[in-house]
């Protein structure tokens, strides 16, 4: 099934994961692929773990990605990214936003937030990108566009043309936020 691309997008409810996954799936559809994208709605959106399974290619059956089958895990938050490592395939790439959102047990001081650095994954997930996307978003003047920065970074690795990305962003983003989101996406694409 190597002709298919499987991507997990994960983070915390309220981080803009639904929008990022809609832009990505729309761009994949415009590029002529079959697409399936499975979202998290409901109770988990109240600050819980959120995970989107996104698959595109010639023929897609399951909307869910099985363990060991994801080409990419895009983590909007470090702990949630780590939770999804088992989804990665052997050459899978883990892209992590260097942001910590402490869950309640950590806020209450019952457990400490695990130390997650680039080095802590060298042995468990060989291909890793740790991005300061939240800081970049603040530079752009709106912390909410962190989703577009991360998506732009992922876009460098995907076989979807810039034209399809552009048209997908225009389709999914409200006109008044369009320019800002385009800037963020471009900034993400320039991350090395």
């Amino acid at each position: 099934m190597s002709e298919n691309t499987s991507i997990i997008i994960t983070g915390v409810g309220g981080q803009g994961i639904l929008l990022a996954s809609r832009v990505l799936s729309s761009a994949a559809l415009k590029a002529g692929h079959q697409v399936k994208i499975s979202e998290t709605h409901g109770m988990a959106q109240r600050g819980g773990s959120v995970i989107t399974h996104l698959r595109y290619g010639s023929t897609i059956y399951s909307p869910l990605i099985s363990v060991g089958q994801a080409d990419y895990v895009l983590g909007f938050e470090k702990l949630e990214a780590v939770r999804c490592i088992p989804y990665l395939n052997k050459n899978g790439l883990l892209i992590i936003n260097d942001q910590e959102i402490p869950p309640l047990p950590v806020l209450l001081g019952q457990i400490i937030y695990p130390e997650i650095t680039a080095d802590s994954f060298r042995s468990s997930a060989p291909r890793l990108l740790l991005l300061k996307a939240s800081a970049k978003a603040q530079q752009l003047g709106n912390s909410r566009v962190v989703n577009m920065i991360l998506l732009g970074c992922l876009a460098q690795y995907l076989d979807i043309s810039r034209e399809h990305w552009q048209s997908a962003i225009e389709e999914c983003v409200q006109p008044k936020y369009l320019e800002l989101n385009e800037q963020a996406f471009t900034a993400g694409m320039q991350i090395q």
Partner: protein, 582 residues
């Protein structure tokens, strides 16, 4: 014709519009909610949030009898509420087609149980359709209306969370030229279910069941996909796609779109052409038991779990004993979990802080506030179904007496109260309880994504309407002590709850802050406690995601904070106290 990505729910809304559905009704419930939220945006249609699922189905019944095609939507447990009209609508049949969408939740992503609503179809002898992706959701919906009108029956249309919330490509068809409306014809013996008429209608239902069974044998909704004949899979819904991912060309598939009544001849013929016949289905052995009862040898639940959602790994493990899908990389043990929590500034927070402090026994209900059962409050002792908090508190009082009732509080949200709390409250009044009931009025149905309801003053289409006045309603039912309180005022909230718990008669407290996610109202009070922090951590007992421990001091994340200022009110330093007040 162009292709767009739609969730199963969006595809159903689109299909209903294309097929001339004129009336939609439902009550919000994950994973069904977005169907009507999308449907209402199409031109020329009427769609409403009903107070509960029973009323929604009755609205659909009336619309159908009057000649319109009707769409009724709910989550699986909603059909329990609507079961009364549902069972007898099987007898009356329809005029305009009527499709009832039941969105089931295997895995309980957002539900209190994972009941398998396919049994309702068999129970009521109503045909059952199960699509496997968004395109089928739209196409099958049209078939469902044709079946409904051809066979004079409501149709049950079952979705699951994985289908409702998965986007797949859908071909957009022609816009509807307007809702279809059939003539209304008075027909007492068909639509008035007096025993004499109902006995005759039951005969019609049985005759219809046989005709539907015959129809199922040749319906295009059921299809065979040939691969290797060493394994024959029978599956429906999204599970068909999981099975195909797991086994690919190594199996043949009988994909059932019409899962009640079953095409037993078709199944028998398929069985005879494969070496090993296996039913793959989520939750209950609904298909398996019927196939076995027909004398066809088949495997099923001996291979797969009876609980939770299936996936390709579970299916392959069940059939082959092992899956080729394995994790390459492991995660460290003991990662902190991330349970859902009340939002920063949530007006429910202070109420549960107080209930915890007062060591109240709390009967709870369905909504965001069920999170009051979680750490750090643990201030909820029951949560059963919509509206149950109120009846349960009365039962507890009657079992243990009014002294026990002094510590007893029922907690229910505004939308849930309107859904099915009012009748419970009438029971409290009628049978003379001395309990305390708190209506957490945040002016929305928050949990499912902020839908309006009769007490918000807005309809599903966003139009202003009569606003149910909860205070006046509760008074008019006969409750003498009705008090409203601002939950952002911690002291007042504690005082009111304390006084009403102590009161030896029935009282209702209504909190009056809107949900922080839909309201711009803020106290915008300057907060100082973090500057004075001595590290007592008392504010952490609020379980607010905007407060965190940095070293031995508590800090406030200003970006997350919604300025409710409740944390200021628990801070001993701000209050000028040297010791804790409890």
């Amino acid at each position: 014709m162009h292709k767009v990505l739609l969730t199963g729910n969006e595809a159903i809304a689109r299909g209903a519009f294309e097929f001339g559905v004129g009336v939609g009704a439902g009550y919000p419930g994950t994973p069904s909610t977005e169907i009507l939220e999308n449907f209402v945006n199409y031109p020329g249609v009427y769609a409403e949030w009903a107070p509960n699922e029973k009323v929604a189905l009755e609205v659909g019944f009336g619309a159908s009898l009057a000649g319109a095609r009707a769409l009724v939507t709910m989550k699986h447990v909603g059909l329990n509420v609507a079961a009364d009209p549902f069972m007898t609508m099987s007898y009356t049949g329809v005029n305009g087609g009527l499709v009832l969408i039941s969105a089931d939740d295997p895995g309980m992503y957002s539900s209190q149980n994972e009941q398998d609503n396919r049994f309702y179809a068999r129970f009521a002898k109503i045909p059952l359709l199960e699509p496997s992706d968004s395109q089928e959701a739209k196409d099958f919906l049209k078939e469902a209306y044709l079946i409904s009108e051809q066979f004079d029956t409501p149709v049950l249309f079952r979705l699951t969370t994985r289908l409702s919330h998965t986007r797949t490509p859908v071909l957009i068809g022609e816009d509807s030229s307007g809702p279809v409306v059939r003539d209304w014809q008075k027909n007492i013996s068909k639509f008035v279910m007096l025993p004499g008429y109902a006995r005759k209608r039951h005969l019609v239902v049985e005759e219809r069941r046989l005709r539907l069974q015959e129809y199922a044998e040749t319906s295009g909704l059921n299809q065979v996909v040939w691969g290797s004949r060493s394994i024959g899979i029978i599956a429906s819904g999204v599970v068909f796609n999981f099975a195909r991912e797991a086994l690919g060309e190594d199996a043949s598939y009988l994909k059932l779109g019409l899962t009640y009544p079953l095409p037993l001849q078709l199944i028998s013929a398929f069985a005879s052409q494969v070496e090993r016949l296996i039913v793959v289905e989520e939750l209950e052995p609904f298909l398996e038991d019927q196939i076995k009862a027909a004398g066809i040898a088949v495997e099923g639940k001996s291979l797969f779990p009876r609980v939770g959602e299936l996936d390709p790994v579970l299916i392959e493990q069940g059939i082959r004993g092992a899956s080729r899908f394995e994790a390459y990389y492991q995660i460290p043990d003991g990662l902190p979990g991330r349970p859902p929590i009340m939002c920063p500034g949530c007006p429910h927070r202070s109420v549960f802080y107080v209930l915890h402090k007062l060591k109240a026994r709390v009967t709870g209900d369905i909504g965001c506030y069920t999170l009051g059962a979680m750490t750090p409050f643990e201030a909820m002792d029951t949560c059963l179904c919509m509206g149950a908090s109120i009846g349960a508190s009365l039962g507890m009082e009657k079992a243990r007496g009014s002294e026990f009732a002094r510590r007893l509080v029922a907690v229910i949200g505004d939308s849930t109260f309107v859904h099915s709390g009012i009748t419970g409250l009438i029971d409290h009044i009628y049978n003379q309880s001395t309990g305390t009931i708190i209506i957490l009025d945040n002016r929305t149905t928050a949990m499912t994504g902020h839908q309006d309801h009769p007490a918000t003053g807005l309809t599903l289409s966003g139009q202003e309407t009569a606003k149910l006045d909860l205070v006046a309603l509760v008074r008019s039912l006969g409750v003498r002590s009705v008090r409203t309180v601002d939950p952002y005022d911690l002291k007042a909230t504690e005082q009111v709850i304390r006084e009403e718990m102590d009161r030896e008669e029935l009282s209702v407290i209504i909190t009056n802050r809107p949900c922080v996610m839909i309201s711009k109202e803020r106290l915008l009070k300057e907060m100082t406690h973090q500057d004075k922090c001595t590290g007592c951590k008392k504010c952490l007992r609020l379980g607010c995601p905007a407060l965190y421990l940095a070293g031995d001091r508590v800090r406030r994340d200003e970006e997350l904070c919604n300025n409710c200022a409740v944390c200021e009110q628990v801070c001993p330093q701000v209050k000028g106290e040297t010791e804790e007040d409890e």
